[in-house]
């Protein structure tokens, strides 16, 4: 039995005429200790998928099993890094992290909480900004606070929804390493949503594309057989990396083109000539 299992998941939003099926027939198995990346186009339903797994949303049909138990709500065992950070703007960096620590480790002393929070804040190198409010931080710093908050709860599984989307390449690389570091240290399970194929290849054991919506389904998986720890420069020269990378990009381009040609068929313009309103009113 897999650590996380999604069986025949369908998710629709809205009711009646406005009903749209965002996700169709999603099947996914993640083993304990695995690092899985899902790549997909914008609006395809990645956040929806994440929320189904973390328990914020319920599938319209199908089941989500975590450690063999059906997911019926959120849990401290599954930590989430939201796409839009979702820091509480009225709390400082420390308070934002403390809030999570307190919930994950109730009935501890205040000093213990503070120490734990300080540890995770230090891990994302934000100690100098510990007493700042989110509005005083740059986008990258906010994202790091969100990472610290999620990790400070010591979740068994980390679910990340485009956690590094807003960062420049340099900070991005740095944080990728930090996340990998934490994942490797306690052998946790991780699910990463990303729109960057290279990021997926660098970090994950498997990459699974999410096809464009509506009715998005998962595509075929791509295994990344590169030894860890991976090195970016070395990787770029590796044959197996090049092959996998090309295969994934080709696949994504194909479904992208498919979508385009579908769109062309859908919007055949009706044969109409515009009325001449100007002359009509003369």
């Amino acid at each position: 039995m897999a650590y996380l299992e999604l069986n025949n998941i369908y998710k629709t939003y809205g009711q009646g005429d406005s009903e749209t099926e965002v996700l169709s027939n999603i099947n996914l198995k993640i083993e304990e200790g695995e690092f899985v990346a899902i790549v997909g186009f914008t609006g395809s339903g990645k956040t929806t998928l994440v929320n189904l797994i973390n328990g914020l949303l319920k599938p319209t049909s199908g089941e989500v099993l975590f450690k063999g138990q059906p997911v019926s709500g959120t849990s401290h065992e599954r930590g989430v890094i939201f796409q839009n950070y979702s820091l509480l703007p009225w709390l400082t960096v420390e308070q934002n992290v403390l809030m999570a620590v307190k919930e994950a480790f109730p009935k501890r002393e205040k000093a213990v909480w503070k120490r734990k929070a300080a540890h995770y804040i230090d891990m994302v190198s934000l100690t100098p900004a510990i007493n700042k409010l989110p509005k005083e931080l740059s986008g990258g710093m906010r994202q790091r606070v969100a990472v610290a908050r999620a990790l400070s709860m010591k979740p068994d599984m980390i679910i990340m929804d485009e956690p590094l989307g807003a960062l420049d390449a340099l900070t991005r690389g740095n944080l990728q390493d930090q996340i990998l570091n934490i994942w490797g240290k306690d052998k946790r399970t991780a699910l990463l949503i990303t729109n960057d194929v290279d990021e997926g290849i660098y970090m994950a054991d498997r990459i699974i594309p999410l096809r464009p919506g509506p009715n998005a389904t998962l595509g075929p998986e791509f295994k990344i057989d590169l030894d860890r720890p991976r090195d970016k420069t070395e990787m770029n020269d590796s044959e197996s990396f090049k092959k996998t990378r090309n295969a994934i990009i080709e696949y994504l381009m194909d479904i992208g083109n498919e979508r385009k040609s579908e769109a062309k068929e859908e919007f055949i313009l009706p044969d109409l000539t515009p009325k001449d309103f100007v002359n009509q009113f003369r």
Partner: protein
Amino acid sequence: MKASLTLGKVSSFLGLGFFTTLKDLFTGKLEKEDFKNLLRKFIVPLASILLFFLLWHLGAKSLYNIEAEYKIEKALQDQGQAAADALTACIASGESSCQPNTLPSPSQVWDSFQSLLRDHNIISADKAAFVEKTAALNAKRVAAGKDAIVYTGRPSFVDQIFRSLQTVFAGFLLALFIAVPLGIFIGLSPTLKSAFNWFIQIFKPVSPVVWYLLVFMIVKTLLIGSTDDSSFTISFISVGLCSMWATLVNTAMGVSTVDKDYINVAKVLKLGTFQKIFKVVLPSSLPLIFTGLKITLSVAWMVLIAIELLAQSPGLGLFVWEEFQNGANDSNAKIIVAMFVIGIIGFLLDRLMLTIQNWVSFDKQDAI
């Protein structure tokens, strides 16, 4: 340079020292844009204030003339030429007993303002003297377990202002303590919301006068047999009830429309109900709550005058009413003084709330 020269001329023309200082600040660097800003921020408001006083002055003058002519005409018809001539002479002499009673001019209002201040100084001195005189006696009375003698003289204009502020703050606090908790409950529970909705919709538009009468009916019965003056109680409760609606509605709205991202955070962290309300829901609705409180305070101040007047509770409202009843020579001018004081205090209260509001509010964009 040219612009700053012009500015220097303008400021010396207006006799306004601070413009020269401002000019010094910009010396050499004064751009056309700065000048435009200065014009818009200082000179235009100043000019409009001057224009306002000019129009007021001219208007008051013409009203004065109409009233005077009418008075003389009437004297002529009723009592003949001699009486009319006497009245004309009397009006021209500035004798206070025969002045036409109409809109006072700015200078009359200024005089009244100063006379009110003088009056306040006299009363304060009187009070101080009284306290000093009775100090020894009061000490004895208190030692003997009797009540101290208190000053019961006429309150001055300034005393009335403070009484009004007391009433409005008491009313505001009452509104705060009723509307905020109630608003939170209503915002959290859709059931309570539908239970209270009709109540809010119907009672929100009720006029201050009716609130006063309602409170009067209830408090009168509750305090039956008591000899204490209940006018203060009645007026602050009425003020509170009139003004609390904005806070109630805004609080309920703020609490029921917390950003979904924050609610998701609360869910993922699995915050308890209590924690969720105090750590997430309330902080995120604080800006709306304070917007409501700001409206509440300004409404409270606005209805206060009418309610004090009805309740005969000491304060600016009663002051205005007494001056109107009094019909003395400078009564009208005193009423206008009260009008300005009410306006300026209202403005300051609004500023105060705005400052607090800016202080507690956050930009959602800030966190994302």
